[in-house]
Symmetry: C2
Subunit: 336 residues, 2 copies
DNA sequence: GGATAACATGTTACCGTTAACAGACAACCG
DNA sequence: CGGTTGTCTGTTAACGGTAACATGTTATCC
């Protein structure tokens, strides 16, 4: 790979002159400019962004640290982020923590060393450690999807509480009285908020004591396990609220294995929709979150920060969630 | 952000000594080491990877340039790549070209400037320009998913030809004689190969002249459009082979709108499976490609290259595709 | 006891780029 | 004609890190 010095030698000028041509700064005679441009073309010269970044202390690169890109919600989020970032000339380094705090810390250390200009973080847990680490080192950060209670930081997330409330209300309105919540890990704020929304709806209906909460992980296996547990308990719920799409899939498997029909024998609703592009047959009644927009907004917020245009006060942007009623929910079966 | 000099000053040593502590190289007295480590901890010092990279000419970063991370096949591929890369301490910059040659060129320029150690490329078209650009600048590259006919380069891809052959054979074996292919753009090698496999199966069955090929894009809209066109033609095919998952979804919409049942009135099979974690109800008969493994293998190949362990000869790794028979394919309806 | 080796630390120079400063020359002005 | 202004190009130093070399100290050996 040729350097600015190689170009300079070939064009018979100094490196500084080449730099001026590349950056269109200062005075350059037409003749010199052409000679330099030719040398650049002949050598296939590409400026070294590392050297530039070292001087300017900005890399035009941000890090995206999330739990699992394979979750369609995060895939769409990531796409929104990359689109918004590349539009402003920023590159995105992406990292999967698999909900591990250790992996998260490891990735954070790496990207800070690589001098990313900012970090978009979907935290593995509610610990404020990661954000503090970044703040101590002066790296701007926007937290995505999840709340961090103990630290002042920009956050962009969906309204889990209101979404869960509406989803539960939907089931109550259909006549359900025994509604189970298959939740994610309580260490994650979305699980906490979905639980809160669920409880609020039950409380309003005077059914506080009817709450049945099963805590697991946000995975198919988690859903499978908690659903199995739920089916063992009596009286059996007539509706199941899965706290995310993976849990819903796991739960559905259990119900199928038990020979139960949805929604005839049991209603099953979930948080998080699948993109229309991968749905053969939209079936689940869900709360859909605007994942793409969430990614965009978070990126814009971060980039404004980098440009120094944002208010000092940390912002919390909460995007509304949408109830989409489909075929997986219906009235409870008649009691025998 | 503090530098190695700040740490040195605080510990009362030279920058070089700090460097030695960090990298565990050369001789350091236990006492000095402790003083330096304390200074590092107190300052929250993090080494600047840019400065290191500038010296060593390696960034421990690779670029992943693909068409759309939102396509579940590529999502899984990306996950395989990130896992394999991070295992070896490499970071991944990801870029979506949306099948645009211009975007691809733009991203390539950026990541080469950023001095990535290598590039994983899902090319937007069969043009060899991108790979040549990288080779001219000495940036190692592995091409993913698609063949590039005019250039010698490492490639990891699925066996589209054999997969298409088997999928078509499956339909022929069920008794279908009029099988339409809703293909992707002919500028992409996978579309070319799937067409070839389809033709080979028809040829073997003596049905060469029965081929009906509709060229579109690898999108839901593309599938929708070509399927609509197909339905207008007579005699109507009894089976449809969608060249990817998005096309299948688009086609299914058309069939539903036309009141046709799958597989009773028409069989519909596709290339590319969805991850089990997002399937409510596995329905499509498909050819599944080992996307995760493809990503892993390609990354390993690239990293071996970087370590100088790989053969000079460009390798082509072709991974087998698997036929998964489900409910969307069945015998053709009885002729009236 | 002087040579030698092992240990411990510091100095210099360089990776590729560019801001700041400096110098040279031409045009223009009063 | 001397000074000012505008144009064009070059030199130096710095961004943060470390290899190579240099230097000094202490322990070891014959």
């Amino acid at each position: 790979m040729s350097t600015i010095g190689d170009v300079a030698k070939r064009a018979g000028v100094s490196a500084m002159t080449v730099s001026r041509v590349i950056n269109n700064s200062g005075y350059i005679s037409q003749e010199t400019r052409e000679r330099v441009e030719q040398a650049i073309a002949e050598l296939g010269y590409v400026p070294n962004a590392l050297a530039r970044s070292l001087r300017f202390k900005r890399t035009k690169t941000i890090a995206l640290i999330l739990t699992d890109i394979t979750n369609p919600f995060f895939t769409t989020l990531a796409r929104g982020i990359e689109d918004a970032a590349s539009e402003q000339g920023f590159s995105v380094i992406f990292c999967n923590t698999d909900e591990s705090q250790d992996e998260e810390a490891e990735y954070l250390s790496v990207v800070v060393q690589k001098q990313v200009d900012g970090v978009l973080l979907v935290p593995a847990s509610s610990s404020s450690e990661s954000v503090t680490f970044l703040q101590d080192r002066g790296v701007p950060c926007v937290v995505l999807d999840r709340r961090l209670p103990d630290v002042a930081v920009d956050t962009v997330r969906g309204d889990s509480e209101a979404g869960a409330y509406r989803l539960t209300r939907h089931l109550l309105d259909l006549g359900h009285r025994r509604i189970a919540l298959l939740n994610g890990p309580s260490s994650v704020s979305t699980a906490e908020d979905r639980l809160a929304g669920y409880r609020r709806a039950l409380d309003e209906a005077g059914l506080s004591s009817a709450a049945r909460v099963y805590e697991g992980s946000y995975t198919v296996e988690g859903g499978y396990r908690t659903a199995k547990q739920m089916l063992g308990d009596t009286p059996r719920p007539t509706a199941v609220f899965a706290a995310n799409n993976f849990i819903a899939i796991g739960a559905l498997r259990v119900l199928r294995e038990a020979g139960l029909r949805v929604p005839d024998d049991l209603s099953l609703v979930a948080f998080d929709d699948l993109p229309a592009t991968m749905m053969i047959d939209p079936f689940f009644t869900v709360i859909g979150q605007p994942a793409y927009e969430m990614g965009q907004r978070a990126t814009q917020l971060l980039l404004e920060h980098l440009a120094g245009q944002s208010p000092a006060e940390p912002q919390e942007i909460v995007l509304p969630a949408q109830l989409i009623v489909r075929r997986s929910s219906g009235p409870p079966p008649a009691e025998i």
